[in-house]
């Protein structure tokens, strides 16, 4: 690729029967302004939609949002499908309103980590934190990571 490192590419979307589009747009904007290449597959996306987009774009990470409270159901088997599709090493991030009711966050996080996600976020996290973690996790080359490596 002519010696230049390519932009880090992420697939962003809202998983399952979930119409929450506002956070999705904000997150896409935040990621793009930090130099990431974003394939935003939007709301009502299935696990398969994420995987297809990830293969086609050779994505570095999947950013999965789930806000309807059914996250645990919707996320089940996602890592396994990625492995089947040849994406065994893809970085997987999940966040939103993953569960309903008053549950201990550490337990919730542990459940999603066990499912194969690399990062799990509770509700109310600013995009900035997700992006900072993402840069660290994807070994972006400098502070402004994804952009300066272009």
């Amino acid at each position: 690729m002519s010696g230049k490192e390519r932009k880090k590419t992420v697939v962003l979307g809202v998983l399952g029967v979930d119409a929450h589009v506002v956070g999705n747009k904000i997150m896409a904007h935040a990621l793009e302004s930090e130099g990431f290449k974003v394939a935003n597959i939007g709301i009502f996306s299935s696990q398969e939609d994420f995987i297809r987009a990830a293969i086609e774009t050779a994505a570095d990470a999947l950013l999965v949002a789930s806000l309807c409270g059914h996250g645990e159901l919707e996320c089940r088997g996602f890592r396994e499908k990625c492995i089947e599709a040849g994406l065994e090493n893809i970085h997987m991030v999940v966040g939103g309103n993953l569960v309903v009711g008053k549950q201990d966050w550490r337990e919730v996080e542990a459940r999603f980590l066990k499912m194969g996600f690399n990062r799990v976020y509770p509700p109310g996290i600013p995009p900035k934190r997700v992006i900072e973690d993402l840069k660290k996790d994807l070994n972006c080359s400098s502070e402004s990571g994804a952009r300066s490596s272009e």
Binding site: G16, V17, D18, A53, E56, T57, A58, G69
Partner: protein, 461 residues
Amino acid sequence: MSLALLIDFGSTFTKILVVDLALEEIVAYAQSCTTVETDIMIGVRRALDLLPSRIKNSPYECKLASSSAAGGLRMVTIGLIPELSAEAGRRAALGAGAKVIKVYSFQLSARERKELEGLAPDILLLAGGTDGGNTEVILKNARQLSQSRIHCPIVVAGNKVAAEEVISILSLAGKTTLIADNVMPEVNVLNVEPARAMIRKVFIERIIEAKGLKKAEDFVEEILMPTPTAVLRAAQLLSQGTASERGLGDLVVIDIGGATTDVHSIGMGSPLQAGVVRKGLPEPLAKRTVEGDLGIRYNARSILKLCGQERIRENARFFHSDLSQKLENLSQSVGFLPESEEDQDLDFALATCAAQAAMERHAGTIETLWGPQGQFYLQYGKDLTGVEHLIGTGGIFIHHPQAGAILQKTLFSPGEPFSLRPRNPALYMDARYCLFAVGLLADRFPDQALRVAKKYLKKWN
């Protein structure tokens, strides 16, 4: 008089239409069997002989042609993910007027390579990867192709980052390669026009000669495009109009042929009802689908297989005993023109079944989903319910006086609310078979072509 001679080399018939460009009138029509196996010009001369002598011997302002003879433009497309770049490639080929005989996705296996060699397409389209995305698969596929016995031109329209390497792999192996912009530069962004234009260029520069149509090209000025492209071009002109003449707006054309049934729709097809979310690859403004199993001659038997005797009889007035034998005969005698009322009726029933199925496959659909927030509607494909004009073309619309009723039977039905077919459009029949000619004239004489189309499309009821 300023005459244009317009020829369509069809798979079965060679049709000639003469248009007076000054008066904007169709002045003559003639047809004869296509003779591509021996000498394409024999059929042309026979058809020309049927024209009135004063017209036959006049000078022509232009002579243009379209062709679907010798099997049409047969294409194979290769992409990465079936629903993404492979689908984008398929749509580019369809929009370029091709018959897509096979779509491959992911890495070509050795077995698929062998199969591909056997298919011997006229053009191969190689896509895969968004721009900056996956390069591995398109490069591996290029290497597979470089080792294959494929000799046809290869249009490369995938990830731009890999394109140069793909071209060099193929060129080193002696393959004819051409490059076009990526058909899917980003996920869910469709960019089929550059690939369509490249396919058309290859068609004009190479395929005509390879198909034994060169002699015909010496007679006309140019064989401009495959026939379906001419019809799609006409549909576009009729929908969008020109700078000085208004178009009709969104419309659908159903082209019922002997071997295939094509549907063309011009319009965005965005959701018309509140609360409907669009999913899947975006639709091209000018969309063409081809049903290779629906045709009222070559594929008469496959209509029977698909729809069953009951459905065919429902659409007929006569009982038609020995239906299966009759359809067998039809599929053998592809040049057959019905004379008796009963034969006409059978054609009508077959055409209705073909048109219904083709429209159903072309139109978008709604899927309902239930979630914690209630019910949601997702739309795949185009919503055609608001389309205001529906046009029928093909032999049956010339020969059968009641053919407009076929169109009526393809419309939206309350019993199938999730099939987004046109609800209440004005219906027209291309009773003079002028659409291909309008498409051929569209670039050079757009205003005249548009007015000829408006004048000769016959309104039904």
